[in-house]
Symmetry: C2
Subunit: 312 residues, 2 copies
Amino acid sequence: MSSFSDRLVEAVRRCCNPVLVGLDPRWESLPESIRSGVSSRPADRADAFRRFCFEVIDVVAGRVPAVKPQAAFFEQLGPAGFAALGEVVAYAKDRGLLVILDGKRNDIGSTAAAYADGWLGHSPDFPWRADALTVSPYLGDDSLRPFFETAQQRSAGVFVLVKTSNPGGGMFQDLLIEGRPLYCYVADYVEQQAKATRGAEGYGLVGAVVGATYPEQLAQLRQHMPHAWILIPGYGSLGGTARDCAAGFDDRGLGALVNNSRGIIFAYERKPYCKRFDPLQWQRAVEAATDDMIAQLREHTSAVALCGPAEK
Amino acid sequence: MSSFSDRLVEAVRRCCNPVLVGLDPRWESLPESIRSGVSSRPADRADAFRRFCFEVIDVVAGRVPAVKPQAAFFEQLGPAGFAALGEVVAYAKDRGLLVILDGKRNDIGSTAAAYADGWLGHSPDFPWRADALTVSPYLGDDSLRPFFETAQQRSAGVFVLVKTSNPGGGMFQDLLIEGRPLYCYVADYVEQQAKATRGAEGYGLVGAVVGATYPEQLAQLRQHMPHAWILIPGYGSLGGTARDCAAGFDDRGLGALVNNSRGIIFAYERKPYCKRFDPLQWQRAVEAATDDMIAQLREHTSAVALCGPAEK
């Protein structure tokens, strides 16, 4: 199997867009047609999560290169939720999507290795394993290396939190050390690891999470980490626009995945889609919101390069 | 229900020691009597993890105040492992132990709230919920607050990573900002939140993780965070001694929990217990290692104050 970064390049080129659809099944936002008749028992809610995510996957498969299930919403339902998460990961992979599990895991030594073993790679016996995992860097090098090692062995990827999209992200990430913010030190490390593992297309197995809500820092970090895929959260609901994401791409239209969760999966309850589609047609709202986001990114970023100007 | 910090004080006083037994069921280290006849299927291994942890809990219940299941080892086995983790948490609580789930979770806003909802508090419908959870601070204030809020509502606790026990922990944690290391900034925040939530015994619902492997920093952080319980990893296998932990306690013998995972649960394969006990008697090695650790802490720390000098 080719490296994660090369598979990601291939998937982005095949779909002609860098959209990452976040699967965040918040119970309160699920369409009434999914919630109807479901008890408050965790097992029943987990089944509703599974059905909802399967339907979203059916809409976006073939349209976008990858999905990002958020572990927290599944874990909230305990063992039944976790089982549903496993089914969602497996189903998305079956439908040809790359799966980036958003778990923000972190620990040290053999414990980090256990997380990596659980979440990364491909095996018919472990269908819940994803193509890549998000991880948190506070514990340092010996907490990150086990993830990279397992990812290397299994042609998987790892995205390290660098500069996050939330308003409070700067509390520690922006503290200045000899004039440079903390996140730049994390970025130094990510670039070093990405460069050391770069594949045929120039990107490594180690990527970075950098929020769309900080476009100047995104531009700076794109330059600073030329071998790292950047996962950009914060588009849509958190205020980031396609224009804000532009600096995350290289001149081939590669190097960045732009995530949208609520803005796509719950489009049916948001403007303008709530006026165009009945809640029963929530899948069509998912489709329209996905297509609109693709068009926005093609208009305002170098992602247009992916399919050439003729197809614009 | 009284606050987590007051329940923890009560449990430590009742047991006359601050030992936290880490439940890290590494497959390769499980006693042969547990592994025997178990296939490599995740469900079968998860059942072995469950049986092993139940037996450890049977030995340590009544002896120590709390246990710390490590989520990673269970997650490694996917949905079946997660179900086993739920059973382990519920069983430990049934046996009167406080349960600190070591998940090092972290995310933002409603996603952090989902993790907190899943893992914290008490409810017969959600038996896998723990008394406290470890969390990672890189994402800042608005990533931590949802955990504190849920913990407050449910009389639960949260331990924030501050200065970790691993050799690479200093890579980011020790970076100097205006002459003070990053971990001190995290400690400032922890103390502020702990003070704001302090219970009858003076400790708050927010605690800190500070490794035994850095005794000087532990002493400094104890002074710096007078309202925060400190969870001290790194005892035993990682090189920390009872003497190294001494500075973590207040003069009442409170304020610190000392974790030991492998050194207790896998004592049967380690000196001196491997000479004293047959592998089939691994439960007796757990018992002896626990009692020895209690004695060490009572000899070298103010934890002796818990039961008064007469009982020393």
